[in-house]
């Protein structure tokens, strides 16, 4: 099966819990964000219950995926491409 490389950048609690700033990941060609989440659960189970919901395996509401710094993406079926930089971070304010 053909593979592709993407780079994941981790921020905030995701970085704190994994102690990793960015990581190159091999995924199957035409992989989507859901495949990336599966990878994360296997590689970094400590994210479960804190950045990834334990039951639904969705990203918690305060965290977002961003593709190449431009657009945030909620849809876990979003298709990734070779060389994509995927950011996992929380942004919000208030208080």
């Amino acid at each position: 099966m053909m593979q592709m490389k993407v780079i994941l950048e981790l921020y905030s609690a995701a970085r704190y819990l994994t102690n990793i700033k960015e990581i190159e990941i091999d995924l199957k060609e035409e992989a989507c964000l859901r495949d990336l989440v599966v990878y994360l659960i296997n590689k970094f189970p400590q994210l479960l219950g804190r950045v990834i919901h334990t039951k639904t395996h969705k990203i918690v509401e305060t965290f977002k995926f961003n593709i190449n710094g431009k657009h945030m993406v909620n849809d876990l079926d979003f298709k990734l491409h070779e060389g994509d930089r995927i950011l996992l971070f929380p942004i919000d304010g208030g208080g």
Partner: protein, 606 residues
Amino acid sequence: MFGYTGKILYVDLSRKKTKIQELSKEYCKKYIGGVGFSTRLLYDSIKPKTNPLDLGNVLVFATGPFAGTMFPTGNKHSVAAKSPLTGFIGDSLSGSFWTHELKKAGYDAVVIKGRAEKLSYLFIDDEIVQFRDAEAMKGKNIPETEELVKEEIGDETVRVSSIGLAGENQVLIANIANDRRTAGRTGAGAVMGSKNLKAIAVRGTNTIYVADLDKLMEVCLELYEKAQGPATEKYRILGTPANVLALNRIASLPTRNWQQATFDGAEKVSGEYMLENHVTNIISCSSCPIACDHNCTVRNGPYAGATTSIDYESLYALGPNCGVDYFPAIIKACELCDSYGMDTISTGVIIGWAIECYERGLVTKRDTNGLDLRFGDHKAIMELLHMIARRDGIGDLLALGVKKASEKLGKGSENFAIHIKGLELPGYDIRGLKTAALGWAVAARGGCHNRSGAYDPDIGGEVDRFTADSTRGKIAVETEDFACVMDSLALCKFLRGCFDDFYAETSRLYTLVTGIDMTAEELRRTGERIINLKKAFNIREGWTRKDDSLPTRVMKDPIPDGIAKGSVVTEEELNLMLDSYYKARGWTKKGLLTKEKIRELELELA
């Protein structure tokens, strides 16, 4: 009554008189509390066109219905007045122990008018209200004032809300602080100073009763559990400074007075750096299970010993926006602001503007008492901060806030004065967050991330953040109504991720606490009512459509760097979004309220 005390305390400082107004259940249901109460009270108490620093302005402190109960984060209060910065309605939320102490003393809100003959403080001791001399506290900063008040009353447990030197000097960006928290925005500290009111001490010994204790406890325990789960993880680990690297990465971190949207020193001022090097302890407000407040200390170097809480907005304003990448200097600058009682956002923005003025040659060393003002020069910035609080030299100009200061200086400096309606902007570059640009443009109190959550859809990926279209009006309305309901229930917005169906859940909780029936739709409608009342206040003060605008830099200077390079909000885009917003609100094309809307919302307007 349950939840509410049913009483508003009116204080006339000129005559040293007080009176009590009883609240009806209908009033409570229509305006909820917090920002809703303060909006109604301001509208009813201030004559149109009153000078904000004159006797006729009133200062309101209003609690929410959940204050004094076990409801998580419910101990917040609104501080409101006609803003000396904007000339429109001004309100800001603070929180923690002072709030529930006021409720326990027997009041849902306090309305203060007039001016004391000399510097004074109020002591609200249940039903007894004393007017006390504060001359000994003249010029004292906030922590000292709190201590002096407690010492004089002889009770360490009283709670104190006070102003520092900036408020006394009527610096227009002055705030009011209690329990290490501040009602930071819109300059209420200057209004308090204009009234010769240094502090309000409160001691309350009554009990707050709720309508259905058993069910409330059951639901609150679930909420406590959620509030300590993944929905609030980011606040607990890094606090809001987690935003620095993320915003920098998407080119939305305003830098050097919004001349750039990325900061080359971002790593050195990040939440991650802060946690590793400066966080000494993490604190929560009263009845809050989240605990986002990261207390930071400088251990060595020129600012050794400085200590204060750091959140993202303060960090952006006094860090990247001033070109500062030295974290200890940011802690020191925040500590000074907290001590003098100045809004950190406004302070950082006005200093950024002053530095740009200097670098462009619009002000010189003659104006700055010899200071060589440069982005990143934290020593000069620290001096400038003292000068603002003391209104010394150019500090007297900067004390007016960036809108008035730039109008006074002229020379084209208005074009890089970063404000909306006179309120300096928080740390999200809205040139690449276009729904947020609309939400901030229309916000009644001016440029603000707390009265409109319109950046959520941009950042959440629900819309294309780089484009504007006519769907944004409805989105901005929904996020604004939501924020208004939260601010009127007087809840911390960090709790917002803990609800699956916000209006359904909070309306039920409202009924469990107060015993007053409330449906989800009625609660949402209440947010709309309060937003419309704020608008009515502003229209009475002379608001026109041109006030719903954006800083010239946001509309004329495209972002020069990072992934958002080239982004700008054009006049055409703003007009398109404004039209859609007014339409979604049911207002006229000029943005004015219609008779039908006023009737529909049962707004009693004088």
